[in-house]
Amino acid sequence: MDTIEIIRSNLLSPLVLAFVLGIVATLIKSEVEIPEPIIKAISVYLLFSIGLSGGVELAGATISQFLLPALVTIALAIAVPTWCYLILRGIGKFDIPNAAGIAAHYGSVSSVTFVAGISFVERLPEGQNTFEAFIPALAALMEWGIVVALFIGRWRMGLSQAQDGSLGKVIRDTLTGRSVVLLVGGLLIGVIIGEQGFARIKPLYGDLFRGVLVFFLIEMGMLAGRQLRDFVKVGPFMAVFGTVMPLIHGIIGTSLGLLAGLSPNGAFILGVITASSSYIDAPAAVRATFPQANPSIYLTSSLGITLPVNLIIGLPLYYEYARWLGAVLGRM
């Protein structure tokens, strides 16, 4: 597939179309509703499935390649929220709580974007659709970006002024957060049960995966649609920030991934993880730590701008870039 074809095929993939259907349904005030318990259960399912599938593939060989990408991911989890904070303070002129709050979102991971990235690769023709099995562990590591951003904010404010939700609690919440537990737990179970054990549960965790993701994206579209309405409120700076930063992060993540020895597909997914901005864990953590920060700014830019940008133009862009750079580096 050439570049145009990749972009077209992403735009016209069931995933993006379901996302757009959700946006449209919201804009025309349609009452399509996927109840909250379903959405919660689906996100447990998606993360656990990804962990499982990764674990099943994991073998001694791939683990030895894990170290460098893991270090790169940790570096990104420190660097991304830091430069976001600096840009938001310096150029965006936000106060400390708002800058740290937004940085926490862009420094961590959006499960849906991550999952869509995985699915993007799996959709490719046989032979081109594999990636490193330890990728879910990278996503779990990147969750630490939240902690980094909140730490920066609290440090700059002086501890006294922040809310009493101690950083210790945020660290614990991050370590034991849903996505970390499901990704890592799934990974371990996958390693233990192997191909053979997985075969009997594959109808649920393998075959249905993409269909369920499409269903999920209808709701994500509705969510993004509701935030889109507040688009004007966030002002021009955040509109640009929410559009451009993920693209820059995607390129950086992909590049570093390749340099750390990941395959182009693996580097692409690391790019997606870096580009994505959280919309579940970060809002809750920020609300608890910096209640002064304005939620409509970070929610709208994360859900209403960055999520669609990543899903619609980010995915094919990072992918094409990964292929191109991979070729340049002689990695394909």
Partner: protein, 100 residues
């Protein structure tokens, strides 16, 4: 049956505060609480957890002194930064000592 009067304090606010609020009302002297999931609108705009399913409503039966302390704490610690409201009124119960 002799009824005695206690106060019912109702707090409505963001779910993110749930643990902290429960901890706080116990620290101020409450011996129990009841929570419901609700949603609503007030004079503040959107809040972080709004799209995740609304607000929580915490109700606690307490003595008048504890009620005063809780209302004070709400006004001091939560009203400035969070989307929270609180109100209080008298109710009658059978075993007043349970809530004192």
């Amino acid at each position: 049956m002799k009824l005695t009067t206690v106060r019912l304090v109702t707090i409505i606010g963001e779910p993110v505060l749930k643990e902290r609020l429960i901890h706080e009302i116990y620290a101020l002297g409450a011996h129990g609480y009841t929570i419901s999931e609700v949603h609503g609108e007030g004079t503040r705009g959107i809040h972080a957890s709004q799209w995740q399913g609304g607000n929580i409503k915490i109700e606690t039966l307490v003595s008048p002194e504890v009620a005063d302390r809780i209302m004070d704490a709400m006004a001091d610690h939560y009203f400035p930064n969070y989307a929270v409201i609180a109100y209080v009124h008298d109710v009658q119960v059978v075993r007043g000592e349970k809530f004192a």
